[in-house]
């Protein structure tokens, strides 16, 4: 009896878990999850350089060179399939799931110019990141402009 009870509880809880998963399904989930993870790769690597620039970590030429190289490699990745048309925050069911703005597609190819600005800044950063803390610091601004330039026009503000 006890066993039956615990089994039922287990099955019920599995149902609960899977129904949560079903509720969380939304259009273009794969692409949206992928591109957000892709952005997190930017933020992670930039965080390594940023911690040094901010004075929270000691400068380390190897880590700095590696992080800057990763950032540039990421920027050179072809991720065009992660941005299908109609996967913006105003699309049905996507409010709160994605922060991509309609303008990404409606003003295309403007977004690719922003991406190019970031790539240019990262080429510079990758070339000098191993040369010392000052080089990292003085290139953070341009990389930041690269990220902000796109987030300013093509991403809705964060929800609280």
């Amino acid at each position: 009896m006890k066993k039956l009870f615990s089994r039922t509880a287990l099955i019920l809880s599995l149902c609960a878990v899977s129904s949560v998963a079903v509720a969380e399904d939304f259009p273009f989930k794969k692409q949206i999850v992928a591109r957000q993870a892709f952005m997190q790769v930017y933020a992670y690597n930039l965080g390594l350089l940023g911690a040094m620039a901010k004075g929270e970590a000691d400068y380390d030429a190897k880590i700095a060179t590696g992080a800057a190289g990763n950032l540039l490699a990421a920027a050179k990745m072809d991720n065009s399939t992660m941005w299908p048309k109609g996967s913006d925050a105003e699309a049905p069911g996507l409010d709160g799931k994605t922060r991509a703005k309609t303008e990404t597609w409606s003003t295309y190819p403007k977004v690719t110019e922003k991406h190019q600005d970031l790539t240019d800044a990262l080429i510079e950063m990758a070339a000098v990141a191993g040369n010392g803390l000052d080089a990292v610091k003085s290139n953070m601004g341009a990389v930041g402009k690269g990220c902000k330039g796109c987030h300013k026009s093509f991403r809705v503000p964060k929800d609280e």
Binding site: A43, A89, E90, D95, C147, K148, H151, K158, D159
Partner: protein, 314 residues
């Protein structure tokens, strides 16, 4: 009998409106209140950046030197209609080059134009009005050094009844009540400097504090997050239409950010996770990056000192 009562009510209502109208008439500034003060251009420039004048009065997306060309033209899309920021360059015809100090102070403090009409609060004078006259004299002196631009800007395109300037007078009776900033005794000077910058020139509350039905800031929800009024940079999707809570609330606000995190974000545009600012905060941050580091730290210290509020949906 009913007719009589109705007539009586209408007469009283009319009388009240007339009285309100008269007490809300725009007034000129008494020039004798303006102190003798030798303008400090460096302080004027700092206040220009802290006040974010270029975000509205320079051209859209202007960079570097172009941020100092205040020919106006930026369109502010709001639920009330489209406001167009005017030319405030020192051009004598198209700009404000012919204004005297009293006229400038009256615009910034009372929201009243030299020809005695009310300005719409889309011009953040409800926040700027706490600036001491000496700071405003410095700011005007700095603006006077900028290049004159001779082009005129178009008129606002507002929906009725929001296009009635006289109605702004009534709005002011309800909401225009902050006085000139004065430091609280016994509170650390840098926190008070931050309080001044945030609530005065920086007008952080203009975006981060929710507003009531008539567009007045809800004072006991200071900086606790709001619906965005900027229709252009947000979307129709309600969850994507918010401006974040920046009180020290651990979950809903920025309680987990250190003072240094806040100061660094204002300097660089990167949050503690090295995501970057976006939307209208980018311009604000790039203006704040021009301030001395001590001012950004002061803002950070003040933000850590305000009441932590959980987010609600206004």
């Amino acid at each position: 009998m009913l007719k009589k009562i109705l007539f009586y009510c209408a007469a009283v209502a009319l009388l009240i409106l007339l009285v309100l109208h008269f007490i809300s008439l725009p007034r000129t500034l008494d020039a004798s209140l303006i102190p003798q003060h030798k303008a400090d251009l460096q302080n004027g420039e700092n206040l220009f950046w802290a006040g974010g004048c270029a975000s509205c009065h320079a051209q859209k997306e202007a960079r570097a030197k172009a941020r100092l060309m205040l020919g106006g033209g930026v369109e502010l899309e709001t639920p009330f209609g489209v406001f167009i920021a005017p030319n405030i360059s020192p051009d004598r015809q198209a700009g404000i080059g012919s204004w005297n100090t009293a006229e400038f102070i009256n615009a910034m403090v009372n929201g009243v134009s030299p020809d005695s009409t009310h300005y719409f609060p889309a011009f953040p004078y409800p926040n700027y009005r706490s600036m001491p006259y000496t700071d405003l004299i410095d700011l005007k002196a700095f603006l006077d050094t900028l290049p004159p631009i001779s082009s005129a800007t178009a008129d606002h395109r507002l929906h009725f009844p929001f296009n009635i300037r006289a109605a702004v007078g009534l709005w002011k009776l309800l909401y225009l009540n902050t006085g000139t900033f004065s430091a609280r005794p016994g509170v650390e000077a840098s926190v008070e400097r931050g309080r001044y910058l945030v609530n005065g020139p920086g007008h952080c509350a203009a975006c981060h504090t929710p507003r009531d039905l008539f567009g007045g800031e809800i004072k006991n929800r200071l900086l606790a997050g709001a619906r965005s009024l900027d229709s252009a940079s947000s979307t129709k999707a309600p969850k994507s239409n918010r401006i974040p809570n920046i009180t020290p609330h651990a979950e809903d606000g920025i309680g987990k950010w250190s003072e240094n995190d806040i100061a660094y974000a204002l300097e660089s545009g990167f949050d503690p996770d090295f995501d970057s600012f976006g939307g209208s905060m980018v311009e604000v941050q790039e203006n704040m990056a021009h301030l001395p580091a001590s001012d950004r730290l002061a803002i950070a210290r003040y933000l850590k000192s305000i009441p932590a509020l959980a987010s609600t949906r206004d």
